[in-house]
Symmetry: C2
DNA sequence: CCTTGACCTTCCCACTATGGGAATCCCCAT
DNA sequence: ATGGGGATTCCCATAGTGGGAAGGTCAAGG
């Protein structure tokens, strides 16, 4: 099986296959005499595992852990669960942050006439205009503050 | 006002000030004889505007638009509102996506004993193990599929 | 046998925003 | 004059992913 076939069989792009190998998420693939990478059905299984984990938003680092546990028959399910729980916590933090932004922006948009006139509460708010800050829309202000930015959410954060 | 003072007054790091200038979000700052950038109170206003917009998760591109509208007395509030609404839609898409991931992962974690035994439904699911795929936890499956990845959410997606 | 096209290889670049750090220079106070 | 703090530019790194160029390979058909 060459890289294209492994890619098609796993749903992971050939580009990513090479990348995962490079960063050590996958062991170095065997090569044909001509230098082509060779994959087995077992490799494809691992790739599918990785792809599903990516679909759940897990970072490459966490996936490394999970793949390690997966291939370790001595693992304890507690270890696996911990990794999952950590990721859920990060997802929660991210969701909270985005939701706070969304709420604020939605309220501002709701307050905007959206007509031909230049008057606009959205701009007014961004201007920091209202002299008493406590009257600005804030909605769990701290959550979306720069420092509050949660730990890394991976791939899905990048526009395709 | 030099770059450090403008940074302190606006909450935007000096590094970002230079970057914003480089990418054209800010006009090129005037310089002293020695090459130091010089900022006015008006510049600081713009910087605060930008910072607040970033706090709401708006991309640099959208902020460019908003700053343009902000400084245009002929603007229509409808234009501003449209930009805001677009961003809300992207936030919604992202939130949906993350929520779907979260739900799936939470269910898997709930189903995991989390003890010393190796048996683990999380790994089992990632394996794609269950022969009948419709029994796998999915929860709005399409939403978190790669193709479903929403349009770009900016900065906050990056781990500090 | 040779061409053609599909595939593989490596290497570099781009993206989003942001931070870190080095080398060098400037300004002000002692 | 000297020292410290700040400014300048330039390069690098991040997390994943895609795009593309330049060149080698393989298989099928003429």
């Amino acid at each position: 099986m060459n890289i294209g076939q492994a890619s098609a069989a796993s749903g992971v792009s050939a580009k990513m296959l090479r990348y995962y190998e490079e960063i050590g998420l996958l062991p170095k693939a065997a090569r044909t005499g001509a230098g082509y990478r060779v994959y087995s059905a077992k490799d494809v299984n691992t790739l599918r595992f990785i792809r599903r984990a990516r679909d759940l938003g897990l970072s490459i680092e966490r996936i490394k852990l999970l793949v390690g546990l997966w291939q370790d028959r001595e693992r304890s399910s507690a270890d696996v669960k911990r990794v999952a729980i950590e990721h859920v916590a990060e997802l929660d933090a991210k969701i909270l942050e985005l939701t706070a932004m969304r709420e604020t922006l939605q309220e501002l948009a709701d307050a905007c006439h959206g007509d031909h006139r230049p008057d606009c509460p959205i701009l007014h708010d961004l201007e920091g205009g209202s002299s008493s800050p406590e009257h600005r829309f804030t909605v769990t202000k701290d959550v979306h503050r720069r420092k509050g930015a949660a730990a890394g959410l991976p791939a899905e954060c990048h526009a395709g």
